[in-house]
Assembly symmetry: C2
Homo-oligomer: 256 residues x 2
């Protein structure tokens, strides 16, 4: 946990916190983009506004994340964001290319499923963080996205989930198509998680710590450098993420 | 100035205030969409974040506008927005179709120029409002868009203007193309203003009042029902909006 001296980042914040905040902030920017894009081509004004409000809450959570690691030294606010998100730039390029769709409802579900997996992943990893900064990260990630109005105290994708559930309930053919599409998207999203674990050893350390705290049985010694441990951690993570995905699809009345 | 009883709207707010707030809020939602769309396909992470932050400030101003007319009676926040924006739904559909572009820089300039005209239009009309609610509307429209951070205390398109100025300074051919494109977009935007004045007599009344207060010479009697007055008001407005557009293009070092 060596201190960092990267631009805009508080050097007393432990490196795993900076790492996880960067990943979580990047996923909020991605969620902003997915919701905003579906707002722009929404079928009516109310939907357009609802998805814009959701996109807005993704950025509000992103700001709360940046505040956790920002050096209070008068740097331009954008600097800390660019620093912590840089390792994850293009992390979703493959995912985006493989789940490209012109269909509005599929695009919306892509946001709900893909971002859902990403957020669950970040929340699980946060369980592996120590100390007060770990608690602070968990607090931001576990509470609903902050909204400027009382009624907006919900996740960024609250409106999207509600819209998809309503559309699926009204159209059985669409519901079947979305269920299939959801399976494809979750597969690609789990692929992103696996690729990230391969590229960023610090995330494997956090996942192993989180798994142990949650009582998962990992190979003895918890030597995260061993490939046995990495495989076990990955399997544990994929199982948990898949479970959360199933619950999310259930809430939209879509078969997982 | 008969009171309204529309859903979510404070019935004591004068009708012209409700009208102008609806128009201004709708233009902020449009600005959100234009900036967010260019964020999604931005060439790099810093640009993507900068334009997302601008889009976010457009929605922050929209919320400030809704607060001016909202009945404090526990209605869902979205209701007042849907009510006041409804008359302007599709007001920009023609504009969007006529200024469709696949070019990233042109899309960005469309946002700056189109939204610039729309905001100037709203600000000018606010000059025709009476009383304390008129002052409150002017205060929201005249101050920079509210930003959550100190450094973000700028218009929603601050980053877009800066990016375009930098791109134009680095590439003479692009600068010429953007200058031409800006002329086309401003022409279409002025067409939207003219169409709105034709459809919404209350906006003509506000414009005539604003023009008179600013010392414009209109046909005697200021009978806004007369077509002479309407023509004079329209010419005065177009001249002012064109002047503001020229200043905006100058700031980006683009020929107006």
């Amino acid at each position: 946990m060596s201190p960092r001296t990267a631009a805009g980042v508080d050097p007393t914040v432990p490196a795993p916190v900076v790492e996880l905040v960067g990943l979580a902030a990047y996923t909020e920017l991605a969620e902003f983009g997915l919701l905003a894009a579906r707002s722009v081509d929404a079928p009516d004004l109310a939907t357009r506004q609802a998805l814009a409000d959701g996109a807005d809450r993704a950025l509000a959570r992103q700001r709360a994340l940046f505040a956790l690691v920002s050096a209070d030294d008068g740097v331009v606010p954008g600097v800390v964001g660019a620093t912590v998100m840089a390792p994850f730039e293009d992390a979703l390029a493959d995912f985006d290319a493989r789940t490209d769709t012109d269909d509005w409802a599929e695009g919306l579900l892509k946001g709900v499923v893909g971002h859902g997996v990403a957020q669950d992943f970040c929340r699980i990893l946060a369980g592996g963080l120590d100390g007060s900064s770990g608690r602070a990260v968990r607090k931001v990630l576990e509470r609903p996205a902050p909204g400027p109005e009382a009624g907006a105290d919900a996740g960024a994708d609250a409106e999207a989930i509600w819209l998809l559930a309503r559309m699926a309930a009204a159209d059985e053919v669409l519901a079947s198509r979305l269920a299939l599409w959801g399976r494809r998207v979750v597969g690609e999203a789990l692929g992103v998680v696996t690729a990230l674990l391969g590229r960023r050893p610090q995330l494997v350390v956090l996942a192993a710590e989180a798994a142990t705290r949650l009582g998962a049985e990992l190979p003895a010694g918890r030597d995260t450098a061993s490939s046995d441990t990495e495989v076990a951690v990955r399997s544990w993570l994929v199982a948990r993420l898949t479970g959360e995905h199933t619950r999310r699809m259930d809430r939209m009345r879509l078969a997982a």
